[in-house]
């Protein structure tokens, strides 16, 4: 029965990626593209880690501290991602009616949802993190055992995150007497916000460059093998692998914890499912009763854009699964800015202005990455979530271009505010003034508008009006292609912008005028970036329009 329940999942994947009777060009292209991205991440990681590694013992410690942070970030994101999709897959999935009407015991339904949620939520994190962790193995010249341990720890961490997220979801959905089950995500998001905050505080990144700690270097080296966060499974994995990388020692206690935890949590979840699922599922159906009423405050006016905006805003605000994630974004902003506040740049061995300007420059990429991720979450599925109602748009006297343009404007405004908040606040915390301030703000704006336009274009090109749930839409081929393309675009802009930014800041800090060649490079890069941004935006936007116009 367990394998029977998983059949639709495997067959859907097979039919989606290897359509019967067709050469899967799209899949091959996406696989090659993904491989190329992984290779780039791997090579870049080797460069960065190798640089640290070549310095001295401090460099090694720093690189391992980053290793730990990467693990904890990965784990936190996995738990959040799993909790968000567990509510959808366990309680709101449309196939629940036929699955639950069948003679399948709750434990087997739990197993099926566990596997599908694990795959939906973990694959992207694993694909992006594996090249980084592999680079550590390469730089530290690890033997075969490291690769085996790496595979086990990555799989176990992902399994722990899924099992924990699902267990918590089953319990919360049963405990909270909420008619609208989706509201539960509000609580989950808040919990996640607190969790990620605590995680980052546990890492104490500011201690890394604290001279007092350097004195105790030997102590520090000896204690690195001890769990940094003894109650956090990701820290077990990070510490276990760090110890192996550093000393080729195996901490069997940590290894046992890593291996046993997924099974323990899984069985706890199964136990909770058997006892609580039916009540939770019943409550989740009650949420469709629609007992809320809304008085309209808007008088009717003949304005397409106003009603388009109003429709978008209302459908967003009235869907608690959507708006409650604003809390998550709030937590993200707080943690993000907190990190800048905690950076002890004044204790750096380099000149403070150089360090802060360098961080501000790198922050453009970080902000861009956040905007891209949020666009993939909110903007990309916004076309597909029109669902069956999209035929109203198709049959209405409004062009698809206008429809998409209104969508773009609707999403561009909040994303611009968020991007500006992130970049200006972090610049303020870093005391950035002069050319780098303008450079970071303008580049961030260009990146934000472009990735939002690209998200809409890709969302239209790959619109799935019948998506089983939002988690499924996020794991679609289109979403993957969007993420890779948007990140490729940002990398190109930032990579090429490094030289003009460096010369601009160097001359400003030294109080020198820019040379003609510097100005030429700056103008050339600006024009090329604007052209590239406009080009990719228009290209994907038009492709999206075309796809929707020909949608049958």
């Amino acid at each position: 029965m367990r394998s029977a329940l998983l059949k639709p999942f495997w067959w859907s994947i097979k039919n989606r990626f290897l359509p019967p009777g067709k050469v899967p060009f799209k899949t091959i292209g996406a696989a090659l593209f993904s491989l190329a991205i992984c290779l780039v991440i791997y090579l870049l990681s080797i460069k960065v880690i190798g640089y640290f590694h070549r310095q001295n013992e401090l460099g090694i410690i720093l690189s391992l501290k980053i290793f730990q942070m990467a693990w904890i970030t990965l784990f936190a994101m996995l738990i959040f991602s799993c909790m968000v999709s567990a509510v959808s897959t366990l309680f709101l999935s449309e196939d629940n009616e036929i699955i639950f009407a069948s003679p399948s015991p709750p434990a087997e339904i739990y197993f099926m949802r566990y596997i599908t949620t694990s795959v939906y939520t973990s694959w992207m994190m694993i694909v992006f993190s594996l090249p980084v962790f592999a680079a550590y193995g390469q730089v530290f010249q690890a033997d075969m055992l490291y690769w085996l341990f790496l595979g086990i720890t990555v799989a176990a961490t992902s399994a722990i995150a899924t099992a924990f997220g699902m267990l918590l979801t089953v319990i919360l959905v049963t405990l909270f007497p909420a008619r609208r089950t989706k509201d539960i995500i509000l609580y989950l998001s808040l919990l996640f916000g607190i969790f990620i905050y605590i995680m980052f505080r546990l890492m104490r990144p500011e201690d890394l460059v604290n001279p007092d700690k350097y004195v105790q270097f030997v102590d520090y080296l000896s204690t690195i093998s001890k769990p940094a966060g003894p109650y956090v499974p990701a820290a077990w994995a990070a510490n276990f692998l760090s110890l192996y990388l550093l000393d080729r020692q195996i901490d069997w206690l940590l290894f046992s914890l890593i291996v046993i935890s997924p099974f323990s949590l899984f069985f706890l979840g199964e136990w909770a499912m058997e006892r609580m699922f039916f009540s939770g599922y019943t409550k989740s159906q009650e949420s469709f009763g629609g007992y809320r009423s809304f008085a309209s405050h808007l008088k009717y006016r003949l304005s397409v854009w106003q009603w388009s905006f109003s429709k978008e805003a209302k459908t967003f605000i009235r869907d608690s699964a959507e708006w409650s994630q604003l809390f998550m974004i709030g937590a993200l902003v707080v943690v993000y800015l907190y990190n800048f506040k905690s950076l002890p740049v004044n204790r750096s061995i380099f000149e403070e202005e150089y360090v802060t300007n360098l961080i501000s420059f790198l922050n453009i990429g970080l902000t861009g990455f956040i905007i891209t991720s949020l666009s993939a979450r909110f903007v990309y599925p916004s076309i597909g979530t029109e669902g069956g109602a999209f035929y109203h748009i198709r049959s209405a006297p409004i062009s698809i271009t206008r429809f998409l343009l209104y969508k773009f404007l609707f999403y561009a405004v909040p994303f611009t505010i968020l991007a500006l908040l992130l970049v200006i606040a972090s610049d303020r915390l870093l005391n950035i003034e002069g050319p780098m301030w303008w450079f970071s703000v303008i580049t961030t704006l260009v990146i934000t508008w472009t990735v939002v336009a690209m998200a809409l274009g890709f969302g239209a090109m790959h619109a799935d009006f019948k998506a089983e749930n939002r988690a499924a839409a996020l794991g679609s081929m289109g979403a993957i292609l969007y993420l890779f393309t948007a990140m490729g675009f940002q990398l190109a802009i930032i990579f090429c912008g490094a030289l003009p930014a460096y010369r601009l800041v160097r001359n400003w800090l030294k109080g020198m005028d820019l040379l003609a060649s510097d100005i030429a490079i700056l103008i050339g890069w600006s024009l090329a970036s604007l052209l590239l941004a406009a080009g990719v935006s228009l290209f994907f936007f038009r492709k999206g329009v075309k796809r929707l116009e020909n949608f049958g």
Binding site: W11, R179, T282, E468
Partner: protein
Amino acid sequence: MQENGNNTDAGPRLAIRNLTKSFGSYKAVNDISLTIQGGEIFGFLGPNGAGKTTTIKMIAGLLKPDTGSIAINGHSLAEKPQHCKKITGYIPDRPYLYEKLTGLEFLQFMASLYQLLPEQYNKHVPHFMNLFDLTDWQNHLIESYSHGMRQKLIITAAFMLEPPLIIVDEPMVGLDPKSAKIVKELFKNHARQGRTIFLSTHSLEIAEELCDQIAIITTGRIITTGNLATLRKEAKLQDSGLEDIFLELTGAYELHEVIAALRNEHSTSQ
């Protein structure tokens, strides 16, 4: 599927006792009781929002009742959910199907969920696919199916199991006349074999044509149960069809005034 309509399970095919379900302060189903025997087609009628789908979902094991009990072939649904579900087929009003599966893959999946024996699968699936003109489409993805084809596929999935009890919510929506006729014959045939159909519908013609027993539910309460003759007597409309009886019993008699008002409005506008 090992069980069939001739199994020796004790008790009526479906026995509902004092079933109640509330959503907040709203009582969707209010203390209803029903007993349905094998070989019956039981019609469950009522206006929109009367509690039909809520009742059906509770019988299918999709909603937990607040109070009351449901027994299928004498087995309590609350105590033996897996056993009861195994002998019950469910055809929902809006059939969810996996878009990225082919029709045949979907049927294989459903058959394996209900542990249908391979010989039964091999016997029934080609028969029903052929009956519903789905054979040419069986290897196409469901996303390319029309609404009617999806409905036929979900009906096939229920009938291939030959369960003693089939619960149907609005069976004819989206079906062409030929398929609708086939479905009606399938229902009759199913009942002739001693099995039971629990049918919820808005179509009074279908209920009149097919059902041996009818229950009318309104505002969560069953107001009457019986065959057409009993209902006529209750409504004091001896020569009327089910439509008039339904309107009389559900309190929609003011409908005549509404129709008259609409006609008046039309004539004055001309």
